[in-house]
Structures are given as structure tokens and as C-alpha cells.
């Protein structure tokens, strides 16, 4: 079956992201569920969302009660741009884990990306009312504010950063801003991620993307170069750097640079 073909992990199809050395908080070579979860998290920190999704699935094969695995799957589907699938998967997961706040937040984020903002708001608020706290719930609430052009989104994202000091949180906030076409705000969050974890090449890559989208080509070039220093085989960074070097003068980019977006 084609679906199971994707579970061939040895073939790192997203290996273009560069070095596969550990970046996350923990190193694990175990093949139990926690080991797969660690691997999934590790790939997530490299931006290898396809691989991370497979690892979450492998962890869930061993232990279906791992809520973090279900949440991770939904988050990966969203990061891969498969919003209807993420919505469907979060809905099915919520049938198993009723009232689970992060899954509700995941569904809210998927609905928001699809465009059903009204239902997404209800779900995001319901997720915040659930027991416990997590950075992801605040991130989703913040994204809904961003999509509604509400200026108080910053407070939600600050709450998310306070809830979890991991550098991945500001980085994924930067990705949210980028998705909604606000590169200047994204750049601030990406810098926050880089400051927290200067050894993470993926943070440098996203910072470069934000700077490039803002028209700050020189800074973007520096970020990509730093990314390549940390991960010399990183193909995305190489390609973007080459694009930057080969591109000519652009009026639109000049204007963006002037207005700081």
C-alpha cells in the first residue's frame, strides 16, 4: 500500500535539509515510542516535516495513547499545508481524546487556514478553557488574531513564549506571521529564536526567509550563509542564497526595504 511505503525512514527523502546530527533537547536511538517521538521532534526542528509526520505515526503505532503524537501529526499536516486533512485528523483525534486542548487548538488552526474563522475562534477559545496550559494553544489564538488583523496578537504570542521557552515556539510564530504575509513581525520572532538557539540552522534559515521577504537582502544573505556554516549541505539555504546573488534590482524590493516590511 502506498501509504505504508512512506514509512521507509531509512530513505531520508528530506535529507536535503543538511546534517542529521542531533539538534533537539534529547538524543535517542531507541526504537520505542518515546524514541520515535524524539526523532520526530528532532526532524521538526530541522524543518523536515514530512519525516517528522512519519515518526509521529510510528510512535503512535506503538502507543496510541500518546496525545503528543496525535497533536504532532496535526501540526505537521498544517505545516505541510494540508489543512483539510489536518482538520479531519484533529476531528478524529478529538473523538478519541475528548476535550484535549492541544487537539482542539490544532483543529482551530486547521479551520483558520481553511478559512472558517468563526468556528476556529470558538474552538481556540474552548481550547484555552481546557485544563492545563500550552504554548501551542496561545500560538493558535494569536494566529486567529493575526488573520483577523487584530493588533493584540503580540500578547498571545508572548504568552506562548512564556509558556514554553523552547526556541521552536518563536520560530513557529515566525512561520505563522510569514503565512499571513507579515514578514517584519515574523523577523522579530525569528531573531528571538536565533538568539535562544544560535546553533540551530533551521532558525537561521527561517530568519533569512523573513529578511528576504522584508526586502533586507543583505541580512538575508548573511543568515543563509550562517545556516550553511552550521549545515554545509543544506540545499534550501544554498538555493536561496544563489537566488539572492543572481537576482537583479527590483523596485518592489526597494519599496519594501524603505517601508520596512
Amino acid at each position: 500500500m502506498a501509504r505504508f511505503d512512506r514509512l521507509e525512514f531509512e530513505d531520508e527523502s528530506e535529507g536535503e535539509a543538511g546534517d542529521l546530527g542531533p539538534i533537539g533537547p534529547a538524543e535517542a536511538e531507541r526504537s520505542d515510542q518515546s524514541g520515535w517521538m524524539v526523532k520526530a521532534d528532532d526532524h521538526r526542528r530541522r524543518g523536515l516535516y514530512e519525516n517528522a509526520l512519519r515518526h509521529y505515526s510510528r510512535a503512535l503505532e506503538l502507543d496510541r495513547s500518546l496525545v503528543a503524537g496525535w497533536v504532532g501529526q496535526v501540526q505537521m499536516l498544517i505545516l505541510l499545508g494540508e489543512y483539510p486533512e489536518a482538520e479531519l485528523w484533529s476531528r478524529k483525534s478529538l473523538e478519541l481524546f475528548k476535550g484535549q486542548g492541544d487537539l482542539m487548538a490544532g483543529r482551530a488552526q486547521a479551520l483558520s487556514r481553511i478559512g472558517d474563522r468563526a468556528q476556529a475562534l470558538e474552538l481556540a477559545d474552548a481550547a484555552l478553557r481546557q485544563e492545563g496550559d500550552s504554548a501551542y494553544r496561545w500560538m493558535v489564538r494569536g494566529e486567529l488574531l493575526v488573520s483577523g488583523r487584530d493588533e493584540v496578537d503580540r500578547y498571545c504570542f508572548d504568552k506562548a513564549v512564556l509558556a514554553d521557552r523552547d526556541w521552536l515556539v518563536p520560530l513557529e510564530i515566525a512561520l505563522i506571521y510569514l503565512h499571513h504575509g507579515q514578514p517584519s513581525k515574523a523577523m522579530l520572532r525569528a531573531r528571538q529564536a536565533v538568539e535562544t538557539s544560535p546553533g540551530s540552522f533551521y532558525a537561521w534559515l527561517i530568519q533569512g526567509d523573513c529578511e528576504r521577504a522584508s526586502g533586507l537582502d543583505r541580512q538575508a544573505k548573511a543568515s543563509y550563509e550562517r545556516c550553511l556554516e552550521l549545515s554545509p549541505r543544506h540545499q534550501d539555504a544554498s538555493r536561496r542564497l544563489a537566488e539572492l546573488e543572481n537576482q537583479g534590482w527590483s523596485l518592489a524590493r526597494g519599496v519594501r526595504r524603505l517601508i520596512g516590511r
Binding site: S57, R64, V74, E82, L96, F97, K98, G99, A118
Partner: protein, 349 residues
Amino acid sequence: MQCPSCRFENMPGLESCGRCGTSLALATAAIDVHPPRASRVSKRVRRAVPGRLLYRARDAAIEAWRTITSSIIEDSRIPLPEPGILSRLIVPGWAHLHAGLRVRGWSFLVAYLFLLLLALTRWGTSMGSIAAGLAFSVHASSVMDVLIRQGTVRFPRMMAMALMVSLVLAALFYAPAGWVLSYGIAVPIVYAHNAPPFDRDDVVLINRWAYALTSPRRGDVVQFRPTSAGRIVDPNLQALHVRWVYEQTMLIDRVVGLPGDRVVWDGGKLTIDGAPVAWAPLIPGRLPPRLEIDVPTDCYLILPTTSVGAANAAGVESYWKTAGLIPGDDILGVAYLRVAPITRWWLIR
């Protein structure tokens, strides 16, 4: 059964964990842990189709609908009076009289009855239509007057109330009554030119339901569809208003004989089966001096003396023997009242 998530020991038979709410099916049922994936085609389609815009349009439509419905409901909420008053709103002024407002009550009642009488007696004329409209307005005004007295109302709400009262009154009373009059018991026929014994602008009322349960009787003045021999339509009129053609294709005259009668017209006197009768067709002068007709069992004898053909073929006996025999289905109703001009307002006999 132990919860696979929190390890809480639940009672057997439960579907979800009593502590954390996790589905206990997780422990037993086969659950697919591989999420569905989007194909390349579906990704391309999603990029091409602006699904976000569809949701935005839906949200905007829902918001607009909520705003409109809430304002309409708010503005059209009518404070209803007590049942004793409410039931008397059926007659203008009655509710006022019941509540002790004598001047207003009598004013509404008298004005309404006057206008209603005028509308009925002048039905089919312009005056009748205006009077009917005014009677309706007086009725609606009397209802509004009672409702407004229930509490202070703002202008938009008053407009909504007026609209609703008018709709309710029209639906309950005036539309059904107008339909019964216009298509049943008082169908107005307006003459556009002289057609003796009727003149131009005469309005005659026809009761189309007169023969719903009974059959035509001798001496009834009826509207009927003439036979092909009696139907002479002026081609110049055909190109004009349909009402003019109508006058030539629908005639009004008296039923002279019933099926099976032997009718004899001799020297201005009419006998049926040997018995003399006091009445005659509407224009007896157009008939020949002597005429004997045996009415077939499937026809009525209605001599079309008011038709254009009768004026041209007055002395031709064969014309009357063919044009006067009218099948029962071609008799449309009783012509019973001339309402215009006002100087000739009277029953048609």
C-alpha cells in the same frame, strides 16, 4: 478497564475514561494512526480555488442575515391588545367603541361603511376601486390606532407594523373577498361602445357562479358565448383592446326557451308551449314578425338580439334558428346589475 492514557481503572462497559475522557476503544479497537494525505492534484486545486473567500462570503452572509432578521423582528414586534379588543378589530371602530372611545369608533365605522357601500355599489368602476382602497385603508388605520395605543412606537417600527397589519388584513379578508367578487359573483363587464340596450361606459355585473348548482331558467338575463353564426367580430376591433372583442364574442340577452320547449314569436307576443309569457328578448324590435322554434334537448334558446349580427340579419328567420340555440356550457352567468352610469343604476330585468 484500564485507561490507556492515564491508567485509571474504569468500570467495565464505559466508552470513555471517567477521569481523563480518553476513549477506552484505544485499548481494544484497531485504530488507524496514519493521517490522510493530500494528493498533488488536490493541492493544486486548493491553490486555484479560493476556499477562504467562500468562507468569508458565508460569514458575511450569516452576519448580514442576523442583522436584518434581528432588526426586522425587533421593529415588527407588535404589542397585542387583550383578546376582547383583538377579536373586535375585524370591524373598524368596533374595538374603539368597546374601549369607550365613541367618537373615534363611530368615525371609523361610519367612514368604513360609507366607503364599503360605495365600493360595492360602484364595483367595476374607477370610483368603486378607489372606494374599496379607501375602505381598506380605514380598516388598517383603525387596527393601527388600536395597536399604537398599546405603547410608544418609533417611526420605523410603526412602518413595519403598518405593513404587517395591511398584509394580514389583505390576506385574511380583502384578497379572498376581492377574488370572490372579481372572478365569481360580481364580474364587471365594461362596454367600450354603444351596443343597445347598453351604452358606452356602461358597467354590468355578472354572477358567474349563478349556475354552479342550478340550471338557467326562462326569463333570466344571461351572459353567453354565441354560436359561430351569431359571433360576428369586427376585424378592426380585434386589433384593439381585448375587451372590445369580448363584447362581440360574449353577449348578454334573455333565456327564452329551455331544452324541449316550443317557442313561438308572433306579432310581438311570445308563447312557450302555447302559454303566453310577459317578457321578451332585450331588443324585440330586431326579431322577424313570426318565428317558430323547437328547442333541441341539448340547447337553450337565447335569441341574440343585442349582437351586431342581429342588427344586420333582423328579418332572416334562418339566422335566428341557428344563432339562437346555445349549448348549456356556453351560458356563462347571470347579468343582474348595471352599476354605471349612476343615473341608470338598477337591476337588469
